[in-house]
């Protein structure tokens, strides 16, 4: 098992306040893992691929994905990740305000590891943090696909 503290969180979220809320929650719970905030799907893909002057994000990492975003929304981002052989094993948690059944079903069909409602994440996203801790501790991460090339 990898050292949980080496896992990077990539938060894809266009709402600055929501992003800050997640970050604050992490700090508050003394989670000192590396944390990257991408304001939309395109920016997040650049991080994952090391494009546009950004440093490529190395495994292990967990993507926290909002669905309603400008430029490239969450579903478009998931689609791009799933067809990219270098990225398609990335663990993704959806973090959204939409509790529409269709969104939930569609997200799971795109292979997300979890679907978390922002409103249900609880005070200071405490539940989210607990979930992620459990996930990190129990789930064996895939090897970095790019390195095996």
């Amino acid at each position: 098992m990898k050292d949980p503290s080496t896992i990077t969180f990539l938060l894809v979220e266009d709402d600055e306040i929501d992003a800050r809320a997640v970050k604050r929650c992490f700090q508050k719970n003394s989670i000192s893992n590396p944390f990257i905030h991408a304001p939309d799907g395109i920016d997040a893909l650049e991080h994952l691929r090391g494009e546009n002057g950004k440093e490529r994000l190395a495994s292990p990492y967990i993507i926290l994905l909002d669905l309603n975003m400008r430029r490239m929304n969450g579903f478009e981002f998931l689609e791009a990740v799933r067809i990219d052989p270098k990225l398609n094993s990335s663990p993704v948690f959806v973090l959204t305000t939409s509790n529409d059944d269709r969104d939930v079903v569609r997200a799971y069909e795109s292979g997300v590891s979890g679907y978390i409602l922002k409103s249900e994440a609880g005070k200071d996203f405490l539940n989210l943090v607990k979930l992620l801790e459990q996930f990190v501790l129990t789930v064996h991460f895939p090897p970095d696909a790019r390195r095996t090339n």
């Binding site: 709402d15 306040i17 929501d18 800050r20 809320a21 604050r24 305000t97 939409s98 922002k118 409103s119």
Partner: protein, 736 residues
Amino acid sequence: MVVAAIGVGMLLLTLIVSLVLRAHALRLANLRGPTAQASTLALQGVQRSLAGLRGWITLGENQFRQERQAAWEDDLDPSLAKLSQLSADWTRPENTHRLAKLQAELRKLREAQWWIEDVAQTPGNEPARVQLDQEVSPTYRENSLAISSMIEIERTLTRDTQSTAVLGILAELHHCLDRSWFALREFVNTGSSIELSENQLKFDRSETLLNKLASQPSLLTVEQVEFLNLVQQQLPAFKTLAQETVKIRQSKEFNVANHLLRTEAVPTAGRATELLHTMSENQEILMEEDAERVKQLSNMSIGIGVLLIGVMILSAMKLSRSGAARLAAPIDALSQATRELSERRLDHDIPVTSKDELGVLTTSFNSMRRALEMSEGNASAIIESTPACIVMTDEAGRILLANSTALQSFGYQTEQLIGQKVDILVPENSRGDHKHHRWDFAKNPSHRPMGAGRDLLASRRDGSTFPVEVALTPLETPEGPRVLATVIDITFHMESERRLREQAADLTRSNEELNQFAYVASHDLKSPLRAIKNLAQWVAEDSGDALPEDSRSDLTLLQERVTRMELLLDSLLDYSRVGRKEDNPEAVNLRKLLDDLAATLDVPPGFKIEIGEMPTLRAPRGALLRVFGNLISNGIKHHDREEGTILISCHDEGTDYRFTVQDDGPGIPPEFHERIFEMFQTLRPRDEVEGTGMGLSMVKKTIEVHGGRITLTTPSGKGTAFSFTWPANSQRKFVT
């Protein structure tokens, strides 16, 4: 008296005519018919006997002889006997004379036939054959034997050239003789002249050969010369006899029977036949004459009968006129009145002049007239007062009656409409079709709505149209078939229907918009709200201590309002989802559901929830939970004391259940009863009670969406009772 005399005279005349008629008819039946019949039978007998005779001559079979005899026994003799018998009644002497001639001819015919029959199959019937057998044949045989002997002798002699020549001549001579004989025999049998050619008879050749032999007697033996002499004598005899035979065979009488048949029997039969034909033709003419007479007599008899009847009627009338004059006047009056009544012109009673049957009849007539008048009056009143247009037409579609509603609706005066074709009430462009529909209806009349399934338009006098519904009723009246059309102007009806449809569409649209709004509100409004809440919290966390006391309190208030806002948005979303997102109906045990609900509702210690008898019903569980949950917690939340009782009861009303949730709280003033079901309404300051004011709206909407109704009462001045109905078997499906 005179009348009676005339009557009796006429009757006598009729009797006489009838008797004559009978005599003629009898003659037709007893004389003309049988005479013709006997003639026909005799004709048949003549032909039949001749046919039998011919068969006998030609084939010689006995059955033909029997047939000929049968023709006489069965046909000719009986018919002759019948004719003789009938002739006693014959009126014309030429007929009797003709019969005598016929009898003579038939006698001759019978004798000729006997003779022919006897001779036909005897040898003497054909003299040529007799000659051949008795004369020609021995001569032939004598010659043939002589020549054969010469040949035999020649064969015993030494063979040399001369002998061979003699033998050749002898052989040919024998051959020629044979040929002559066979040709002759064949001719006698068949009569074929081919057999008579020189080539066949060979007489000349025989002579030549014979002479050849005679000229060289040295070549012959003595015996042969003797034979030669014999042949020289006999061969001419053979020739002469043969020629005689040929002559006999060639004559017309070669067959006696046939000859007799041709010369005797057939002409006699022909004469008899002619006589018979004449007789039967004669009978036909006589028959026609008789029939004509019968016809004339019948006509005469009928004429006399008619005359008799006429005379009798006349006398009867004469007799009765005097007596009838008494009765006639009231009957005339009554008949006149009946006519007037049928033409609807009678408006008064007929005076009753007597107390007999006529008086009773008049009285009855008067009451019938009054009843008719009344019922007609009723009918016209009904027709006139009905708000529907009523138009009656005859079979050809001409308007006979139109009530005032019809005149008013179509814009005509009575005289402008009566007598017109009903088609003028139909828009111009559909008049052609209407005519055809009318014809169809006339062919198959029945009570029915006109133009089922089509939108019908009627046309006013000014050409404007209006939508109508039309019912057609066929009527049978003494004046002929009628069609009663009831026309209802449905302009208003259609207008209100259209308005209703528009309103329904508007309502659907605004509901849709409301749902859309609620959804958008819940998502898009919540996002910034959460941001505000977060920010306020962070400010409090990060710099709370540095803020003045008032600011910190404001910050807390800010957070509280944001929370309330969130709640409101959630309830709004929930509200919009009622009826749109429901579970499928399932069997719900309400007793259990309410027990569970009471356990989860966090009921304060001073409160009791009493649940009466509850049914199990089929409904979406979530909807029931929402309704009862809100009503129970409402009762607790708005209670004015620390302790109270919530009573839940159920009453089975058949198709529905009626549930009542009653508390013993402060009650709700009647003026607020309607308002409490509106959205975001609470009757107390917002901060006093936690709540969004959406609970009861949601309850009301849920109940109504499932087909129930909720009402609010204040029982016995204290507390509040929410009472609502719920269908006993809720099967509604909900669109998500």
